[in-house]
Each structure stands twice: as structure tokens, then as C-alpha cells.
């Protein structure tokens, strides 16, 4: 067989559109995931049992169920409670809630990686739990977390392809649309896969750069 990518050229603008939607969904999803994750991760180590249990349950459930089901629950399930969300919003919330679970676990690991003595020094100096967390523990935890966090970002970009099931025209959806009119399946999905690879490489590289910058300081 021969590959002929030229049939895809007329649909170039669609791929660009899809790429932009994927990038947007990933960035929004990640931002939400980070906010939720920091909260959940911090609660995971707080010395108040019910809060710790709550955070642990969240992480347990989120990590133990497929993202696809979580997306379906939000997009198809919530309307029965009278909550109708636009597909893109539902998608971002789904990704955010999902990655919040994973980021939460990363944050917990990062926090627990800070030596106990740093807490104790702060405590004797009169710093409150919250102050210690904010000024001393989290800034260090973030550094410990960066490698795992980079992995999570890459995973999230790839998993955003599930948004196609909510009929969001992100990259994978665009691929399906183009394939259905050109029948050039192999070329289309090679291109789509290549774009994902490019995206994940850029994201991974950016985080590695950040890691280096922080280590030097």
C-alpha cells in the first residue's frame, strides 16, 4: 500500500481546530485538576480523621473507575438531576475531577517526602499548621512532585481523546470526521497520533525545563 497524506490537506484547518480544542481542554482540565489535587492532597495528610478519610475516598473512587464512565456520568447522568452542561464544560469538569484524584495522590507523596523535622522546627517557632503547609511544606513538595506531575500532564493530554465520545470536536473527533469523508484511515490516524506525540513531547519537555530551573536555584 502507499500512503497519501495529500488527501488530508483540504482538512488542515479542521486538524488545527481540533488541536486547539485538545490543548484548551487539557490546560483547563489540568488547572482544575491541580486545584482539586492540591486540596485533596493536603486534606489527605491533615490531622483530622474525617477530612483525611474523605480525601482518601475521593482518590480511591476516582482512580478505581474509568474516566470514560466519569465523563458519561457528568454529561449523560447529571441531566436527570436537572443539571445540563454543555459538552465542552462537562468534558473539562470530568477531566479536572479525574486528574484531581491523581494529582491529589502526587501531592500527598510530595508532602510526605518533606522531612518531619521541617514540620517540627516550624511548630516550635510558633507557625500554625496552615502557615507551615503554605510557606514551608508545599513549596518543597511542588519540587518533589514535578516529575510525577509531568507524567500526569502527558497522560491527561492523551486521555482527553475520550472527549470525542461526548461529540466534542477535539483532535480525535476531527480524525474520525476526516476519516469518514476521505476513507484515508491510516493517514488520518497516523497524523492524529503524530500530533498527540508532538503535544506530549512539548508538555514533557516544558516540565523538564521547569524542573531544571528549580533545581539550580
Amino acid at each position: 500500500m502507499t500512503l497519501d497524506f495529500s488527501v488530508l490537506v483540504p482538512y488542515g484547518h479542521m486538524f488545527v481546530q481540533g488541536l486547539l480544542v485538545t490543548v484548551k481542554a487539557s490546560l483547563f482540565g489540568l488547572s482544575m485538576g491541580v486545584v482539586i489535587g492540591v486540596l485533596v492532597g493536603a486534606l489527605r495528610v491533615v490531622p483530622i480523621l474525617p477530612l483525611r478519610a474523605l480525601a482518601a475516598t475521593y482518590i480511591y473512587v476516582i482512580r478505581g473507575t474509568p474516566l470514560l464512565i466519569q465523563l458519561f456520568l457528568i454529561y449523560f447522568g447529571l441531566p436527570s438531576l436537572g443539571i445540563n452542561l454543555p459538552a465542552f464544560v462537562a468534558g473539562i469538569i470530568g477531566i479536572g475531577i479525574n486528574s484531581g484524584g491523581y494529582v491529589g495522590e502526587i501531592v500527598r507523596g510530595g508532602i510526605e517526602g518533606v522531612p518531619k523535622g521541617h514540620w517540627e522546627a516550624a511548630r516550635v517557632l510558633g507557625l500554625s499548621y496552615g502557615q507551615t503547609m503554605r510557606c514551608i511544606i508545599l513549596p518543597q513538595a511542588v519540587r518533589n512532585m514535578l516529575p510525577a506531575f509531568g507524567n500526569e500532564f502527558v497522560t491527561l493530554i492523551k486521555e482527553s481523546s475520550l472527549l470525542s465520545t461526548l461529540a466534542i470536536t477535539e483532535l480525535t473527533m476531527v480524525g474520525q470526521q476526516v476519516r469518514s469523508v476521505t476513507y484515508a484511515s491510516f493517514e488520518t490516524f497516523l497524523l492524529v497520533g503524530g500530533i498527540y506525540l508532538l503535544l506530549t513531547s512539548v508538555a514533557g519537555g516544558a516540565l523538564q525545563l521547569l524542573e531544571k530551573r528549580w533545581q539550580v536555584r
Binding site: 523535622g117 516550635v124 517557632l125 510558633g126 507557625l127
Partner: protein
């Protein structure tokens, strides 16, 4: 006069393991007391109870007449009473030395950043690190880090300072600079409780030396009395093991040969 530190009938256990079994201790204002004793005897635990890092099971701890155990005192009041120096320094590695020293005064005492920095710089100057304000802990030697830790504790203006083996993690050539700072601090009239294996230093700087074993104070007295004339067999054998190890004649020759 009210004692600076008063510990009455202190019991502390970790689960089934009883570590302190009814410790009584009184330290006067401006007194310098050293605690020596074998590993696992509960020295660190005693210091950690005094600064409320550990919950206690029984007994009372009073600092300058105020009951502090059981989290009775607010953070700020507690930090004004007592500072603690750890074996591992426990500096915060993401902050500069000056930031390490200034953080608590700003956050806890509510000092203006400029005022805190002025205080911090003066304290770092006092411990001989006036030229290292912008350095990060990783760029400092262990001795320098421990001196920063001392400046950081002093920035809260505590009335009592606890030292838990402040030089045990240091290379031998760096021990002196830390002990020097502590000697100066003692001379300035600070109330100090020093857990140490530096017997010569303990002998020189302390008004009183306490020997602990198995969660109890076995013997205490002036440095001369305890080092030269220990009464209890356990004290004697400990001191002899120490002087054999360090090759120093801490104890009068005839002390342990009986």
C-alpha cells in the same frame, strides 16, 4: 522565684513502650543544664516534651510558671517561651538563611518584614554568618547551618533554649564553631538545656549536669561533682565508656576500676 523550667512527674510512652517514667526537673532562670546519658534513655523525648512536640501521658510541665503541656498555650506564647535546636538543623532548604530566620517573626509575631530582616541580619551577624544572608542551606557547611538554626530560634526571643545534640551530625572540625556560639549564648544569660555527648563542653559551660538512663534522672550535680565524683554505678560506667571512646580523661582515674 519561679523556675524557668519545671517538670513534675513526667510520664511519656509510645504505645506500650514507656520512655519517661516520672521525671522531675527544675531549671532556674539563666541556668545552663546539660543532659548526658546512653542512647535511648529518653533525653530527646524529654526535650521534645518540654517544647510540646510530644503529648505527655502524665505529669506537668511549667515554663516560667505557665503550664504548657496539653497544648494549653497558644503558638505565639509558646514560641516566646522556648526555642529548640535539632541534631539535623531542620533548616528549610527552599529559603535563604535570612528568610529562614525572618519567617516566624513575620508570620507569628507580626513583625514588619523590614524590622524582621533587621533583626535577622543582626542575629546572623552574631552567629558569625553576616556574609551569608542570601545563601541557601545547601550551600552552607553543617556548622554554618546549625548556627543559622540557632539564629532562627533566637529571632523569636525565647526565654529558654533547648539543644538536642546540636553537634552530633557535624564533622569534628565544625563542632567548635557551634559550641562557641552556644558558649556566648550561655554567657549572655540564656536559660539552656543541652543534650550532648560533648563531655568537655558540658563540663565547661554547664552549671549543672544531669545523667539520664532508662527514662529516669539517675544522678545530677555540678560538673565537677558528676564528672569527677559520680556516685551511682551507672553514671560511673557510662562516663568510663565515654572517656574510653573519646580518649579524654573525663573522670578521675580511680573512678571506675573498682
Amino acid at each position: 522565684m519561679v523556675a524557668a523550667v519545671e517538670v513534675r512527674g513526667l510520664h511519656k510512652s509510645f504505645g506500650a513502650l514507656t520512655v519517661l517514667q516520672g521525671v522531675d526537673l527544675c531549671i532556674g532562670e539563666k541556668e545552663v543544664v546539660s543532659v548526658i546519658g546512653p542512647s535511648g534513655s529518653g533525653k530527646s523525648t524529654l526535650a521534645r516534651c518540654i517544647c510540646c512536640l510530644e503529648e505527655i501521658q502524665q505529669g506537668e510541665i511549667l515554663l516560667h510558671g505557665e503550664r504548657v503541656d496539653g497544648g494549653r498555650l497558644r503558638n505565639k506564647a509558646m514560641a516566646h517561651l522556648v526555642g529548640m535546636i535539632f541534631q539535623q538543623f531542620n533548616l528549610w532548604p527552599h529559603l535563604t538563611t535570612l528568610e529562614n530566620v525572618c519567617l516566624a517573626p513575620v508570620r507569628v509575631l507580626g513583625l514588619a518584614p523590614e524590622a524582621a530582616q533587621e533583626r535577622g541580619a543582626a542575629l546572623l551577624e552574631r552567629v558569625g554568618l553576616g556574609n551569608k544572608l542570601g545563601a541557601r542551606p545547601a550551600q552552607l557547611s553543617g556548622g554554618q547551618q546549625q548556627r543559622v538554626a540557632i539564629a532562627r530560634a533566637l529571632a523569636m526571643e525565647p526565654r529558654i533554649m533547648l539543644f538536642d545534640e546540636p553537634t552530633s551530625a557535624l564533622d569534628p572540625e565544625l563542632v567548635g564553631e557551634v559550641l562557641e556560639v552556644m558558649t556566648d549564648l550561655a554567657a549572655s544569660g540564656m536559660t539552656m538545656l543541652i543534650i550532648t555527648h560533648e563531655m568537655l563542653f558540658a563540663r565547661e559551660v554547664s552549671h549543672r549536669v544531669i545523667f539520664m538512663a532508662d527514662g529516669n534522672i539517675v544522678e545530677e550535680g555540678t560538673p565537677e561533682a558528676l564528672f569527677l565524683n559520680p556516685r551511682m554505678p551507672r553514671t560511673k560506667s557510662f562516663l568510663h565508656r565515654m572517656s574510653a571512646h573519646f580518649g579524654t580523661a573525663l573522670v578521675a582515674e580511680e573512678g571506675g576500676r573498682r
